[in-house]
Symmetry: D3
Subunit: 68 residues, 6 copies
Amino acid sequence: MNISARNQLKGKVKELKKGPVSTEVVIDVNGSEVVSSITTASAESLNLSVGDDVVAIVKASNVMVGKE
Amino acid sequence: MNISARNQLKGKVKELKKGPVSTEVVIDVNGSEVVSSITTASAESLNLSVGDDVVAIVKASNVMVGKE
Amino acid sequence: MNISARNQLKGKVKELKKGPVSTEVVIDVNGSEVVSSITTASAESLNLSVGDDVVAIVKASNVMVGKE
Amino acid sequence: MNISARNQLKGKVKELKKGPVSTEVVIDVNGSEVVSSITTASAESLNLSVGDDVVAIVKASNVMVGKE
Amino acid sequence: MNISARNQLKGKVKELKKGPVSTEVVIDVNGSEVVSSITTASAESLNLSVGDDVVAIVKASNVMVGKE
Amino acid sequence: MNISARNQLKGKVKELKKGPVSTEVVIDVNGSEVVSSITTASAESLNLSVGDDVVAIVKASNVMVGKE
């Protein structure tokens, strides 16, 4: 399936911090960290484990721009 | 100002596509493209131009995870 | 690719309204309308046309609950 | 109150999973599941219970499109 | 209808900037400006006009925190 | 750093409710409450405490409009 989300960054799961409802997923993308917060049910349904090859997906409307 | 958003990726503005209300900003982050959609008023208020050093900012709750 | 987004509703593109930067996509999901706003570049990259089989994807953290 | 959110799907609360800060709400919409993640304080303020008639509300800009 | 969104700020429409697909709504909330970007179809469906009493609605998961 | 987010409301942290993964931050903005849900890791990285001067930041595309 192709997705309309403009940002799809390939990486590896580096860390998983599971709470009762939310789970934080730290993804290593070319040496940078991208952090995702998903439901724990999603994390389990994807069977996410440290080391997995994953894609961090972000819709363009959710990206802000900062400038010094 | 420090921001709670967990994802702050440094890059350079590569392309700006301005519409009457929305503007698309393509940011080069280490050779990868990150695309942001902001209001044209924001783009003008930041005085964004191609070549500017910027930061793509994304809240962790807006990052999904895909897995093959 | 499996995606962490908890909501993935299958439907058909019913209407496309293209602007210079943003495009509105109306999707028929079992007789109900689901409306998506994506970048026009995304719509073109997916080559979206009326009648296409598509999936409306929404992260759980973007669903609010209303109650009478 | 009428809301600008384009997507307002009527359903019934099927399941509630409460954590200390976040609560997952599973809503049955015509036999399909729609999942929402809200703050536990919101769930309590709405006094949400299984079986309640509710509306799942999603802004169009938070709907992505997937295509095979 | 009560909504789970934790942030509901009452104000008046101060300015409307309509594009073909997206519309920017500037809302005066106690002398501060709150800016919303919605689809033009939504703005028309709500029949929004300058001077209208409205509520700016934001889900808690979409509020970031900045600190000097 | 200037940020493209159109809504930046100054206030003070009034309450912090920390969970294992998510933290709710209640901010007093001119006597009104604005509620943010961020990761606990973010709250700790900002070293957020009750009484801190902070800014509630919201992208325009995440603001809905309600009208009676």
